[in-house]
């Protein structure tokens, strides 16, 4: 659906040049939710703007649905843009228009027949759950409602691709979840390909099928979400995964437990899919004389099933500890030993 080959973007100014995107190769399949994660300044905002040519790349090729974007004439590009919609962090609604008129905006641009606009808008309002707010102005809406308008507006022209530029970053956690659910819902209902950028691992975990990690303009790691969570290879990726698994409180507990049981081993267990939902730990520990302390853990849902992490401290003989770790690994549990 979307193919990027060796894409680069350099900003040149009098004070020198900045490489925002460097040698990016990326393939995004039709109908998937693809997440791009990175800290601010990693180049993800530029990357997503290259996909609808709000920014033109300095080098490389960008194809959407087989159409080479970089060589399109302005008129052709405007046509393609109706097929590649965008949702923004700060919503970017016209405050001078009501909810209904905002959603109608792309239909007006497209010369949609007047009589059918109202009909289409009514459908969209229903889809994003804004019934009853048709006549409100953006200033009268909450952040979550504004983003719903933004999503409805993006869907009005019946696009195949939806680009989400930090679509939930300005929202509180609860509203974020409801918007993410809406995105998954429309992804399924409309068979829409969604590309989203974010700095929150939670967003990736919750809705993405695949993820790419960006650092300094490059994609340093990519793959299916569960896979990347289980075996994060790059330091940057590990850092993002940590956003979900450990908290500062855990670190405090670690320190205390290390002091109390100097011979104990603190290990992080990662369970994916069915292993997250079965009593593996109990089975493994059944015929062991080891003691264990549960420090903390959580289970989250990804698009491909549950994902759990658990921090425990194993106390006992070294040999037996190793045996237990081997058994856990044999049952498809990822084990990471804390060596401090």
């Amino acid at each position: 659906m979307i193919r990027l080959q060796d894409v680069g973007k350099i900003y040149r100014s009098k004070r020198g040049s900045v490489e925002a995107v460097v040698n990016v190769d990326l393939t995004i399949e039709r109908g998937e939710i693809f997440g791009i994660i990175g800290y601010s300044g990693a180049g993800k905002s530029t990357l997503i703007r290259l996909l609808n040519m709000l920014e033109a790349p300095t080098s490389g090729s960008i194809q959407i649905d087989g159409v080479e974007m970089t060589t399109l004439r302005p008129k052709e590009l405007r046509g393609v843009r109706k097929n590649v919609s965008m949702v923004f962090q700060h919503f970017n609604l016209l405050w001078s228009r009501t909810v209904e008129e905002n959603i109608m905006f792309p239909l007006e641009l497209g010369g949609y027949p007047k009589a059918r606009r109202k009909e289409r808008v009514a459908e969209l309002i229903q889809l994003v759950g804004l019934d009853g707010r048709e006549g409100a102005y953006p200033s009268q809406l909450s952040g979550g409602q504004k983003q719903r308008v933004g999503i409805a507006r993006a869907l009005a022209s019946n696009p195949d691709v939806l680009l989400c530029d930090e679509a939930t970053s300005a929202l509180d956690p609860k509203t974020t979840d409801s918007i993410l659910e809406l995105l998954v819902d429309i992804n399924k209902k409309l068979k829409l390909t969604i590309v989203l950028i974010t700095h929150e691992m939670h967003v990736i975990q919750k809705i993405s099928n695949r993820v790419a990690v960006m650092e300094a303009g490059k994609i340093v790691e990519q793959g299916p979400v569960a896979e990347v969570f289980r075996h994060p290879k790059q330091a940057m990726t590990k850092e993002f995964v940590k956003q979900l698994t450990s908290s500062a409180e855990n670190e405090l507990t670690f320190a205390k437990l290390r002091e109390r049981y100097p011979t104990g081993k603190i290990v992080q267990l990662t369970f994916v899919g069915s292993t997250a939902e079965s009593p593996i730990l109990a089975e493994v520990m059944k015929d062991s004389t080891l003691l264990f302390n549960i420090i903390g853990g959580n289970v989250g849902q990804t698009q491909d099933g549950a994902l759990g992490t658990l921090f425990i401290q194993l106390i006992g003989a070294e040999q037996e500890t190793q045996a237990v770790i081997a058994k856990l690994q044999a049952s498809d549990v990822e084990v990471e030993v804390d060596h401090r």
Binding site: R81, K82, N92, L93, L94, S96, S157
Partner: protein, 221 residues
């Protein structure tokens, strides 16, 4: 009443009020259209997304600054040849109108440019991402989003124009300013100055109130 304002000829006062309204009105309408155009040109030729053209912007901006900087009373005198050419006379209310427009339109043009610059760049980017043409961005996004500032700008400009008509009156234009200066000041009839001033104040207040009400009505932020 007639004892306090013994020198006031109410019929003349009424006629000159009409003249002031006439000059302000005609010059105001032309200034609105011309200023909007100047403001749009200034904005569009200085904006990457639209029709960026540094040379054009530089020249237009230079002329706007020149006409905005010349004190109005001097501008009228400088424009006498132009006025003569356009209206056939340099005396009377109609003769004042070209100078009023040339004095006010660049002033208003700058205000329109500022109003357009205040429009959120993100909204323009959103329109662009939806496949809007540059022209559609101008009339569907920029103007509606900047409308409150455009309207409050014309209110300020109209108030300034009322002041300009009074200055024009001193050098041969008609209206309440002319009456206050010629019949009032030069003939030491203070009651005429007072009445003319009060009428000008009333006109200004009415313009301001209408402007404020309109802005309040269209501003949905």
């Amino acid at each position: 009443m007639s004892k306090w304002f013994e020198n006031v000829d109410w019929l003349v006062m009424g006629q000159q009020t009409v003249n002031t309204l006439y000059m302000t009105g005609v010059a105001g309408i032309v200034t609105f259209v011309a200023g909007l155009l100047i403001g749009l040109l200034l904005y569009a030729t200085n904006e990457e997304l639209l029709f960026k053209n540094r040379t054009f912007y530089g020249i237009l901006s230079f002329f706007v600054n020149i006409f905005r900087s010349i004190p109005f009373i001097i501008l009228i005198i400088l424009l006498f040849p132009v006025t003569k050419l356009v209206t056939g006379s340099i005396i009377g209310s109609t003769a004042a109108i070209p100078a009023l427009i040339i004095g006010a339109a660049p002033f208003y043009g700058r205000m329109v440019e500022l109003a357009l610059r205040e429009v959120d760049k993100g909204v323009i980017e959103a329109a662009e991402s939806m496949g809007a043409t540059k022209i559609q961005i101008i009339y569907k996004v920029l103007i509606p989003e900047a409308l409150p500032a455009i309207v409050s700008g014309i209110t300020v400009t109209l108030v300034a124009l009322v002041g300009y008509t009074a200055m024009a009156g001193v050098v041969g234009g008609g209206g309440l300013g002319n009456l206050a200066f010629i019949d009032g000041f030069q003939r030491s009839q203070n009651d005429i100055i007072v009445v003319a001033t009060l009428l000008i104040l009333v006109i200004v207040f009415i313009i301001q109130i209408i402007g404020d009400v309109l802005v309040k009505k269209i501003d949905k932020r």
